[in-house]
């Protein structure tokens, strides 16, 4: 019992900490601060309108209509001689109150309904979905017109109606959040420890939806103000009330005489809604962890690529290597201006027809190294040192801070290709497998579509697919993971590359399929005599396929050498650790069965 109480206190505490830093971050953001100030001023003006306004909202001086601003009427008068400034102040009262009313109704309906639907689901959710699909198929203004026709002009009735109409937005938001949290372990723990559903919802789930709801409310208040003013502009509001929409309508009637009458209510509307929109954005930014990396730094770095366009000659005597990576460093700029290195001072080479394994655990920088050879690093990545050369030409020359895409685009797909790790996510679900095989051949080799189709069939056969015709016509979701990986391998060799980079090509597959895919890779490699860089964490795969191996840890190269040499006689401690974590060839450990029996007893 005590164990379940402690984490609750902890969540409560982190909750407040997060909130207070979020508020501080919100006020630090100039746009956030500005929107808070603008809204505060508008609220204060509305609260003290009866004191601040020099005239009553409907006080009319018939002798002074459409007057220009002077010391008495600081913003002038309208066509009935009413003071514009006073009406603007009273209008802010109604505008703000109606927005709050609308949001309150929407929250009162949408939030509990979303909680229940998300937490329990079932019939309640099905019914709610029906109601929502009806509510969302109705344009707000048309509904408000209907309400007006039925109940007559009333700001309050129309805003309650609009609140009902817009409540699905809270419902959907809450339901999504609750669904995501419902099966979290800490909610399970609370349930197991005997807390009632009500207190779980109150304590754990409400804290999750609180922030999105505040953001949503800012937006909905803005929409409510817009639609309410629209209705009043049409002359369908309550004519006895001074509102911004009525003032707009009044100004529009006198647009030929005094167009400035339009300006003030329009400004008031835009300023209020704008402040709400900015506030919502600023809260969102404040809640998103991590500050943004400054853009100028990136563009400055990018600019220097252009300065470095001259073609440097590679070091003499290294031209014969298919790929040579020299002292490569890859890093990511951080918010504080530093650069986090993920690859540091890595050097190796691959020759034609050779299979090089890059081994390391996740986070060792092996994939980043592979992607820098392909020129497919994420946009934010920077080359922080070293060079890469492909077949005697630099793709990253000394001083470059990005891979030269111009040079790589001539090589990529044509001479160097790629087999990804996860087969399903690497095929575009919207196109057939045939299309995705044929198009690169048409683009890269310049052959006709029918010629490419013939080759694609042959390739599918080569990678061991039994019914090439059927697979060719299939969409990616219609084939198995193993088959998709075979398709990707077919794609990788389709344009007869000199080098294939395979990034954990078997990790995502079932064990039996793994062996088949490795067989396939080995067969293709020796038949086509292509160079392969095999990125893996698995020494079993390495011993199966590779000629040489490079071991990486924490972005650095630990050991390099002939695969048999390293397997038999690893020099570095890290390599030994990696090798000893292999399961193959080990004496079986104690059987699990006995412990099960113990438990059963």
């Amino acid at each position: 019992m005590t164990a379940s109480v402690t984490p609750e206190i902890a969540t409560g505490q982190t909750g407040t900490v997060v909130r207070s830093t979020a508020i501080r971050r919100l006020l630090k953001n100039p746009l956030g601060l500005a929107s808070v100030i603008i809204l505060a001023v508008i609220v204060l003006l509305a609260l003290f309108a009866p004191i601040l306004a020099p005239f009553g909202e409907n006080y009319a001086n018939i002798g002074k209509t459409l007057a220009a601003p002077d010391s008495v009427n600081i913003l002038g008068t309208d066509s009935s001689g009413r003071d514009v400034w006073s009406r603007l102040l009273f209008g802010s009262q109604i505008t703000l109150l109606s927005a709050v009313l609308c949001a309150a109704v929407a929250v009162a309906l949408g939030l509990p309904a979303g909680l229940i639907a998300g937490y329990y689901g079932g019939l309640f959710e099905t019914t709610s979905n029906w109601v929502i699909s009806i509510l969302m198929s109705l344009p707000g203004l048309i509904v408000l017109l209907t309400i007006r026709a039925a109940f007559g002009p009333s700001v309050w009735i129309s805003m309650v109606a609009f609140g009902i109409l817009i409540s699905p937005s809270y419902f959907l938001l809450t339901r999504t959040a609750v669904r995501a949290v419902r099966n979290e372990l800490y909610v399970d723990a609370a349930r197991v420890s005997g807390l009632s559903d009500l207190s779980i919802m109150g304590r754990h789930i409400f804290s999750v939806v609180r922030a999105p709801i505040i953001i949503q409310t800012a937006g909905i208040c803005g929409v409510a103000i817009a639609i309410q003013s629209g209705l009043e502009f049409l002359g369908l509001g309550d004519p006895t009330m001074a509102t911004w929409g009525v003032m707009l309508s009044e100004g529009f009637k006198n647009v030929y005489l005094t167009p400035t009458l339009l300006l003030w209510p329009a400004l008031a509307i835009a300023l209020t809604i704008g402040a709400l929109v900015l506030l919502g954005n600023a809260i969102r930014d404040a809640l998103e962890d991590g500050e943004k990396i400054k853009a100028p730094k990136v563009s400055k770095v990018a600019g220097s690529v252009k300065a470095n366009t001259g073609n440097h000659a590679v070091q003499k005597g290294t031209e014969h290597h298919l790929v040579k990576v020299t002292n490569l460093g890859v890093g990511y700029p951080q918010a504080d201006g530093s650069i986090k290195k993920v690859v540091d001072d890595v050097s190796f080479h691959v020759d034609r027809g050779e299979v090089l394994g890059i081994v390391g655990e996740s986070g060792s920088g092996k994939s980043q190294t592979a992607f820098s050879i392909l020129g497919l690093l994420p946009d934010t990545a920077r080359i922080v040192g070293g060079t890469i050369q492909f077949d005697g030409n630099y793709t990253v020359q000394p001083g470059d801070d990005r891979v030269n895409q111009q040079r790589l685009s001539k090589i990529r797909g044509r001479r160097v290709s790629y087999i990804p790790q996860e087969p399903m996510s690497n095929l575009d679900p919207a196109f057939t497998i045939g299309y995705q095989l044929v198009t690169p051949m048409v683009r890269v080799l310049g052959i006709s579509k029918s010629e490419a189709k013939k080759r694609a069939m042959k390739l599918l056969e080569d990678v061991g697919i039994t019914y090439p015709e059927r697979t060719f016509k299939a969409y990616p979701h219609e084939v198995s993971g193993g088959m998709a990986q075979r398709v990707l391998i077919a794609g990788a060799i389709s344009c007869e590359p000199d080098l294939v980079i395979a990034d954990e090509p078997t990790t995502a597959l079932d064990v039996t399929v793994q062996a088949e895919v490795l067989d396939l890779l080995r067969g293709l490699q020796s038949r086509l005599n292509i160079g392969v860089i095999l990125v893996t964490h698995n020494f079993g795969v390495v011993s199966d396929l590779c000629d040489r191996v490079v071991v990486m840890q924490n972005g650095r190269l630990v050991e390099e050498g002939d695969v048999r040499e390293i397997l038999r006689n690893p020099k570095e401690k890290y390599t030994q650790t990696l090798l000893s974590s292999m399961l193959e060839g080990k004496t079986p450990m104690t059987m699990l069965v006995s412990t099960v029996e113990e438990v059963a007893l």
Binding site: L138, G140, I142, L145, A149, L236, F252, A295, S417, C495
Partner: protein, 313 residues
Amino acid sequence: MIKFVIKRLASGVVVLLAVSVLTFSLLYAAGGSIARNILGDTATAEQVALKEHELGLDQPLFVRYFTWLSNALKGDLGSSWFSSEPVASSLATRVPVTMTMVISAMIIIAILATLIGSAAAVKRGWVDRVVQIGAVIGDSVPGFVIGIFLVTILAIQLKMFPATSTIAPGVPASAWIASMALPVVALIINGVTGGAQQIRSAVIKQFEKDYVRTLRSRGIGEGEILFKHVLRSAAPAGLTVLSLQLIGMLGGVVIIEQIFALPGIGPLAVTATSQSDLPVVMGIVMYTVVVVIVVNLIVDLLNGWLNPKVRVS
């Protein structure tokens, strides 16, 4: 495919019926003194009773609803209580004007939002910042306020466009275009700024997908990746945004037409509402729901065409 369409149409009919019941009961149950409203305060009690009988208001609500429904199924939506014009025929003359504007606005929004949003996603930098700021401004200024300023500045002050429409049957196309240019601009601004923002995030999200990296590794160019693969995958998200915008626009266009004095649904809706001309209001609600159902059906079909997984099931 045909089964899918029939299923969606059937559920559309259910929604239509549900909305008609709701609207009908709301309109007729709430207003107490409809006949007196029409006749004015000077009418005697007998005159009011006679009028109520004439309009069928002395019958129970559900009887009236079924009378309305059976007539509506025959294409008769009743007549205006004030002008006696049949609702169906006034809708028939006005819907083309409104739908011309709404459809052209939606097409322009779809094209501009896609181009601007993709540019912001791909180029980042200043284009992206302009799109972000534009989205905030678009969210802040309601479309009808933009319309008011367009008409005040461009039509009334600078006289570049007609301030009120010259649209009527038989008027040359150039007059239609001149009359509709400003209203359409007023309708699209919020849609373009909001839509571009949404397309931008959808495109950025798609560019982070694994298959994009694989396409690049196969030597496919950036242009082809954007236009053939990324935009296609981002399209369902874009379509959802556009369909929501269109639903909103069916309301927004009412105000815009009022501002520009266009003979569309707008002025009819405003007059009918302020007079509580219930048959007309009912007809306008029905027309709106039908448009929404058709739009949702089209969006579903497009999504099915775009996504092979949906197509199969």
